[in-house]
Homo-oligomer: 320 residues x 2
């Protein structure tokens, strides 16, 4: 099978269509027609086997997650997903694997309305690079640099589930049953907060998606916005599965440093707090207020009025 045909047959022909795609896979370039008065948000992520995903990860989950992690970047900017390209490197053409992978990828693409418009297939150790384009009204994108002293800090969803799911898959936690299955699914099928991101556009002062863990990622907001933050760890949202599976201190550690949550962390000025909470409730997304932006450039983790130190303090995927 020729390289070209893999993209066409498994992805483009089965994938989501969009009316603004004038020409899809099959020419030297794709042609798309952006909406007027919008900026284009562009993000690019590579997932490498044994670095970003386990070799035995189900193909369908990998296809889904490859799109989801890119969508999460668009969500953090408040952008609507539009178009993407897929560069996939495979050791061999395994049609059953490609069938399942493309099903997961196309499921995510269809659900979030993103069209695959180009790609390239090459032979080598398994890796996936997706470059995604979204659209956002000019001047309305959320960035990491707008947080101000006094703004409230929020996160969507629950934290740490993906990291605990990974620990189960790696045999570092011996858990089974429904809770374990839930946590593994959270690792395999993260939910990019695309609608939540869009609903934050006129309300949040800054936003970021949680890919490396809260402690690491909030650091980017502090640095880019030149502010500090206090987080009350007792306010961190934890799933029932997390709570029933590990001790509370361990759960807090996963929530603070676990990584791969793909939830949004964002800051909101006091004046927008009511509107924000109404808007997110309408979007059907759970959220929690976990702290407040301060002056200085430090992150302070607090628990019952005292400084809190989590068990682990770094997360670099699972290479370390």
């Amino acid at each position: 099978m020729k390289e070209f045909n893999v993209i066409e047959r498994f992805f483009a022909e089965r994938g989501q269509a969009r009316r603004d795609v004038e020409l899809s896979v099959g020419d030297d370039c794709a042609l798309v027609n952006p909406a007027e008065h919008k900026s284009i948000a562009i993000s690019c992520d590579t997932l490498v086997e044994n670095v970003h995903f386990l070799a035995d990860m189900p193909a369908k989950a990998l296809g889904y997650k490859s799109v989801a992690v890119n969508l999460s970047d668009l969500a953090a900017m408040g952008a609507e997903p539009a178009w993407m390209t897929l560069a996939i490197t495979l050791p061999n053409i395994d049609e059953a694997w490609l069938d399942a992978f493309s099903q997961g990828l196309n499921d995510a693409a269809e659900y979030y309305g993103v069209a695959l418009v180009g790609g390239d297939t090459t032979r080598g150790p398994k890796s996936i690079t997706i470059t995604i384009n979204g659209q956002v009204p000019k001047g309305k994108a959320l960035t990491r640099s707008g947080a101000n002293n006094g703004d409230w800090i929020y996160v969507t969803g629950t934290l740490g589930d993906s990291a605990l799911g990974l620990a189960i898959l790696r045999g570092e936690q011996t858990l089974s049953g429904d809770a374990a299955q839930y946590l593994i699914q959270r690792h395999y099928y993260p939910t990019p907060r695309v609608l939540a991101g869009q609903s934050l556009r006129n309300l949040a002062s800054s936003a970021i998606d949680l890919s490396d863990g809260l402690v690491s990622d909030i650091g980017h907001i502090l640095k880019h916005s030149n502010v500090g933050a206090t987080v009350d760890v007792d306010q961190l949202p934890l799933s029932a599965a997390m709570r029933e599976s590990v001790e509370y201190e361990q759960a807090l550690s996963y929530a603070l440093t676990g990584g791969e949550d793909y939830e949004l962390l964002f800051t909101v000025p006091e004046s927008q707090r009511g509107a924000l909470e109404t808007s997110l409730a309408h979007a059907g997304v759970s959220f929690a207020k976990i702290g407040q932006i301060s002056t200085g450039n430090k992150l302070r983790l607090m628990k019952e009025g005292a400084t809190f130190k989590p068990i682990n303090f770094s997360f670099e995927h699972f290479t370390s």
Copy 2:
């Protein structure tokens, strides 16, 4: 060194800036502002060591060529280069190698006015994926599907030089001196025909860039346009270096099947022939009329009125 810092330090900070880039590397996404009334052309190419480039290819040439092959896709659509992302996989962080690679990449980006706006660095066998965006006035993009019976077939530049240069590098041709150096440079530093592509917009009926060899690539135009073609091989443009280095029949074989020329092949109706030749001459690009579109779906290679059969009939990079 963190993955993120490689893109920022070696590429974004040193790279070409553009006024339509609102936010570059350093947030969840880049933000760019497309021009009004234009379509966006998107292309994605992966280059893998020992598949698409030799392991001892100079880093600077590899950086340049990685951009050039993507620019060539934009050229074939008549698009102006705008923004790109770079996903680079490296076995280790070699600063000297990255210095040279980024110099070549940034040279090409600067010359053709394309801004690097995002990327990702991962560890593994060396490979480079670039996704490039260009802009083209709505409805004016060149495609593979517009060729009509009677249209003239043209190519830019000279053909086969890159393939002969590669043969020299691989020791399959024992040549030396200025001609050999010229041919090797043509392999390392192809010239994407970006301005020529734009000047073809209202004149050519179809276009494609020559990456896999003329015989293979013209086939895409015949298929998408549902036409045939006759090419007079004596009209194929050959460089002086090619002519003096190998026998004429061998030269024709390189020109027809060699691959990696990154020249444009395009078709022009008789009514636009004069305007086309004036326009390309103004753009300072050499070009040659090599044949004519016909009915049927076959490519006929002719030499002095008889069918011509080249020595080799396939080109699949250098894996085979």
